[in-house]
């Protein structure tokens, strides 16, 4: 079973990994966007870890709702509302339970991903974060490692796609050949599940 500590570790591991990869995310964002994906997420997840420490939420749902709210309030751009909604809606779906099973988390994440789809109006294949998140959620039944692999492969698979949403879409065919920064950061989020469960 996964308790609030696990979800705190998940968020902290994501923050650490965003810190490590910030420059890489920004580099991916620079030929097709505006070169700030790394620094924006870094600001957001720094706020998330600070808030988790200060407010000490006691349930898995409360951890994710607090994290989502922090992202919405600090990131800006499209990433703030999209990642914020993903975590908030996943957290809300987990309810008040003190511990949740892997199956419950998978279901809740599916709710979160659906909310992201509804908010951004994107679908898999548009070269967005959904290209990492949707396969990850589908693979979650086989464990965190399988989900992480699916997310990473999904992120890499955005390279030959033409972006249809977000700022990269303005480049039309010129967006082809670039791995989507949002899908890449989504892979970091899913990979952090593995790290959180190892401890």
């Amino acid at each position: 079973m996964l308790d609030a500590d696990f979800f705190r570790r998940w968020m902290t591991a994501t923050a650490a990994s965003v810190d490590r990869e910030a420059e890489n995310l920004t580099a991916l964002d620079s030929p097709i966007g505006d070169a700030d994906h790394g620094s924006n997420l870094q600001r957001g997840f720094t706020a998330v870890t600070a808030a988790l420490e200060k407010e000490q939420p006691q349930t898995p749902g409360a951890v994710l709702i607090l994290a989502g709210r922090q992202l919405i309030s600090t990131v800006g751009g499209a990433s703030g509302p999209l990642y914020g909604t993903l975590l908030r809606r996943t957290g809300k779906a987990l309810g008040d339970a003190a511990e949740v099973g892997a199956e419950q988390l998978a279901q809740a994440l599916r709710t979160g991903v659906d909310a992201v789809m509804a908010l951004g109006g994107a679908a898999p294949g548009d070269a967005t974060m959904l290209d990492a998140l949707v396969p990850a959620v589908e693979a979650l039944g086989d464990g965190f490692a399988a989900a992480a692999t699916a997310a990473r492969e999904g992120a890499v698979a955005t390279t030959p796609m033409q972006a249809r949403k977000g700022r990269a879409s303005y480049l039309g065919e010129r967006s082809i050949g670039h791995q989507d920064p949002g899908a890449t950061s989504s892979a970091l989020l899913v990979e952090a599940l593995v790290e959180a469960s190892d401890e």
Binding site: D34, D36, S39, I72, G76, A78, P81, R164, K165
Partner: protein
């Protein structure tokens, strides 16, 4: 890359502190990132709120003041502001007559302003919205996030601002804003890429001797790259792209806008070519504005915006305005 900054992390806050010192007629909340005209809320007046990433100055903070915006919410560089900022701005400027959000069509701006509208309405503030999407370089909205909001934002903010100053109700001010947007089209070109403080090097590689056609305002490349053209050829291309999309029956307002690193000498020369093309295409010009208004940090280049106006819109355009970035008649 050399920039007149301390560190990238404090660029926006530092600029806001400097703006506060230069403009005592504005209340600049550096911590919460909201710029409000000092006499807000003005009784009976609709509050006009806009915002977007920083790096486009004087948009939007430079357009706060009588005759234009009531408040502006600057985000990080090229990153939309967060909903908390708009909610704070709405609370500061709402006199009971409601507020109008003027939003440029970028995914981040749209999402954050939508969230803000919901929160402000929960607090009892009536919220209207105008989405600015004037960039003709973005054609097929099925495969994109839709047309970007660029130069027309200035026309919307000025004209809707004048309507609000007259005490027109929210529905009317919103309708005027939408009318301006529907009648406005823009096209931009870049002669150099942008260097953002966070990245410190140009966002894309644009060799000497080449230019990008169909750019927005965020340092992203445009739709195509060509060998460098003369000012006249660029005017033919840019105005041509706009007139392929719109056949003005009324006179137009013309904005020849610098992207940040192109001197006025070049912008005025470019404007001469824009006026030539308009004359050749028999488009009547009502008013022309030339300068750096909707910029993209240190990008060299320019955009052209045309907005066809009837007598009423022209009257509102001519109405007095007093802001750091635009001022006439008062």
């Amino acid at each position: 890359m050399k920039m007149l900054i301390n560190v990238a992390e404090t660029v926006v806050a530092d600029a806001l502190r400097g703006m506060a010192a230069a403009h005592p007629e504005l209340v600049v909340d550096v911590e919460n990132r909201v710029i409000v005209r000092r006499d807000a809320p003005v009784a009976g007046k609709v509050g006009l709120i806009s915002g977007g990433g920083s790096g486009h100055e004087p948009l939007h903070g430079g357009f706060v003041g009588p005759g234009m915006l009531s408040a502006a919410c600057p985000g990080e560089v090229f990153t939309s502001p967060v909903p908390d900022q708009m909610v704070r701005a709405a609370a500061a400027v709402d006199s009971g007559a409601g507020v109008l959000f003027i939003v440029k069509n970028y995914t981040g701006d749209v999402l954050n302003f939508d969230m803000a509208a919901e929160l402000a309405e929960d607090e009892g503030v009536q919220v209207g919205k105008v989405l600015v999407n004037d960039d003709v370089a973005v054609t097929d909205s099925l495969y994109t996030a839709g047309r970007r909001g660029t130069g027309a934002t200035l026309f919307v903010e000025k004209i809707a601002g004048a309507a609000a100053d007259e005490g027109q109700p929210l529905e009317r001010v919103e309708a005027v804003g939408r009318q301006v947007n529907e009648n406005a089209r823009s096209f931009g070109v870049a002669l150099s890429a942008v260097t953002t403080p966070a990245k410190g090097s140009p966002t894309f590689d644009l060799p000497t001797g080449e230019l990008e056609l169909g750019i927005g305002i965020h340092g992203e490349p445009g739709r195509e790259r060509r060998a460098m053209m003369t000012s006249g050829e660029i005017a033919d291309f840019a105005v041509g792209a706009i007139l392929d999309d719109m056949t003005p029956r009324n006179p137009v307002l013309v904005l020849v806008n610098g992207m940040g690193a192109t001197p006025l000498l070049e912008l005025y020369g470019f404007n001469a070519e824009v006026q030539r093309v308009l004359a050749e295409r028999e488009v009547a010009v009502a008013r022309t504005l030339v300068g750096n208004y909707v910029t993209s940090l240190d990008m060299a280049g320019a955009s052209v915006t045309l907005c066809q106006v009837d007598e009423e819109l022209l009257r509102l355009w001519d109405a007095p305005v007093s802001t750091p970035g635009l001022r006439w008649g008062m």
